[in-house]
Amino acid sequence: MPDFVDPGGYGEVSGQMAMPGAVGKTEAEEYNTLDEPVRETIMRDLRAVGTKFYHVLYPKEKKALLKEWDLWGPLILCTFIAMMVQGTQEVDKQDGGPEFAQVFVIVWLGAAVVTMNTKLLGGTISFFQSVCVLGYCLLPSCLSLILCRLILIAHQNRILFLLRFIVTCIGFAWATFAAMVFLGDSQPSSRKSLAVYPIFLFYFIISWLIISHSNV
């Protein structure tokens, strides 16, 4: 008895089960990440950093910064602030400002300490996510630093100092608010202010460094 009924009389039918398209796709993916042009890799990272900057400036959606953390943005911001704020090296013009390394240490160590505090209080956020958020929220402070630097071009008097003060205050408040939006939910409400205060202190110190920078 034949085990195969062949009503149409086609004969033996055979073929491949695997779809040729699928095999080609995985190969294409490997091509994308390993062999893609360098410009694309950089652009992808830059786009990620840019989206995160956008979310810091308009902190409505909370997940954007937390889901995929990266530390490029904090590095760029920290280097920029440290370069701008460091004191002069000339001996006769010692203005008592911090060194480049001191600013770096303050930012990174400060972010680490604030994160450790959040975790010790029982927060549910991971270490690098928190450092990422704190670093990205330096962006408003950075913008206020740029504005202050522009204001410093003019000859200084009381009014301009007041203007710089206001600009720095706005940057500080914005940074603290943005960080609170992202990090606030990770704490039970009875300890929320305990977790927020270190963030406040961290941005306060950075803002003080920014407003104090006045060598023209």
Binding site: Q102, L121, L194, W208
Partner: protein, 402 residues
């Protein structure tokens, strides 16, 4: 089939606890003491009992291991309200209440001490900076300078105080064999919170009145020091009176030393310095050229001048200021000014304030340099030398007029 209820007696219908309440004759309390024996229940039972027993001695010691994260989490087991209370009552000694028992005892924490120390570091750094800026702010040329190295110094001294002194006190108490046990953690907590009063005090120290600063420097350590001493006192009560009082005095002294150190290091010196700067460079010398050459020269010369001329003269400010102002009246002509100078230089020798006449004459001297072409050679050397003795300036003035 006939259904019949079998009579088991009254006891069956009465539940164990309610037997008495219902007033039943046959009371019977049924104690459930035998559990159905199944293998799983036994294991669970043992596990629960086993864990319970094991947990108690473990939690009495430092429960989780030193190397895990949870070990440190137990030091941060506080609520916001608790921290607020602890800060508030560390500053205000409440009469009938032991600060330790009421506020710290259930769970001493390290959150407060750490963040208060850090806040205090930056508060003293920033407000000290502000104070020196405000004290010298009458000068138009004074720019905001910040002193970052003061912050690092503040950090080391505050953290050293907050960690080493409690360690020392705990060591002393342990050595004396005190019965009322204060643990090291509680001492660290108390000391940390006792520093909280210095944060608002350092903000108030910006006010440039010396008597106000001294008031604060006395009141603040007295308040928080009294809370400290009252907290430590019960552990000392079994000791001899002298030792107890001695330790209490040492605690208070250390606290007061810290306060004084802050005040003197961060908030005093710029005032003393700026007095020299402000007085001669008076706003009524509203010539643009006078302040700029004066300001860099004036500070180093001032102490020199004081050294030399103070020995000779009695400073009398009342006389000095009007003549100085008259001397630098911008409406006065060059020649007139110089003649006035000749006249008043003798009175200057006798009665003027040490700083103002010399500076004024110096300013006038530098004035004569651009206006009178003939004596440029004598004038520049005259300017620095004139500073040292007043008599010489008289000669130079005579020379320049002739």
């Amino acid at each position: 089939m006939d259904l019949q209820f079998q009579d088991f007696g009254d006891t069956r219908t009465q539940p164990a606890g309610a037997g008495g309440a219902m007033g039943g004759k046959h009371e019977q309390t049924i104690l459930f003491s035998e559990f159905p024996d199944t293998a799983e229940d036994d294991q669970e039972h043992d596990k629960l009992m086993g864990e319970g027993e094991a947990k108690d001695p473990r939690s009495l010691k430092a429960g989780p291991s030193f190397w895990t994260f949870e070990f440190y989490q137990q030091f941060f087991d506080v609520e916001s309200k608790q921290v607020g209370d602890r800060i508030l009552w560390s500053m205000v000694p409440k009469p009938g209440v032991s600060y330790l028992q009421t506020y710290i005892r259930p769970n001493p924490d390290l959150y407060g001490p750490f963040w208060i120390c850090l806040t205090l570091t930056f508060a003293t750094g920033i407000t000290g900076n502000l104070a020196s800026y405000l004290a010298a702010s009458t000068e138009e040329t004074y720019v905001w300078r910040y002193e970052f190295r003061k912050v690092t110094l503040a950090a080391s001294s505050i953290f050293a105080y907050a960690w080493l002194v409690p360690l020392a006190v705990w060591g002393v108490l342990a050595l004396r064999g005190s019965r009322a046990k204060i643990t090291l953690l509680e001492l660290l907590s108390i000391y940390g919170y006792s520093l909280a009063i210095f944060v608002p005090v350092s903000v108030l120290w910006i006010v440039p009145q010396p008597w106000f600063k001294w008031c604060l420097a006395i009141v603040a350590p007295v308040l928080s020091g009294s809370v400290l001493v009252r907290t430590v006192w019960p552990s000392l009560s079994h000791d001899s009176k002298q030792v107890a009082i001695g330790i209490a005095v040492v605690i208070l002294l250390l606290h007061a030393t810290l306060a004084l150190g802050f005040m003197l290091y961060f908030f005093s010196p710029p005032e003393a310095k700026s007095k020299n700067d402000i007085l001669p460079v008076n706003p009524d010398t509203n010539k643009a050229s006078t302040p700029s050459p004066n300001v860099p020269e004036a500070p180093p010369k001032a102490p020199e001048v004081e050294g030399d001329t103070e020995a000779k003269k009695k400073p009398q400010e009342a006389k000095g200021d009007p003549t100085a102002a008259a001397l630098v009246n911008p409406g006065v002509k060059m020649v007139e000014r110089e003649s006035k100078e000749i006249k008043t230089s003798s009175s200057v020798k006798k009665a003027l304030d040490v700083k103002s006449p010399v500076k004024v004459q110096e300013g006038v001297k530098t004035k004569t340099v651009p206006s009178k072409p003939p004596p440029p050679p004598p004038a520049p050397p005259a300017a620095p030398t004139a500073v040292t003795t007043v008599g010489k300036t008289e000669e130079m003035v005579k020379k320049s007029t002739s």
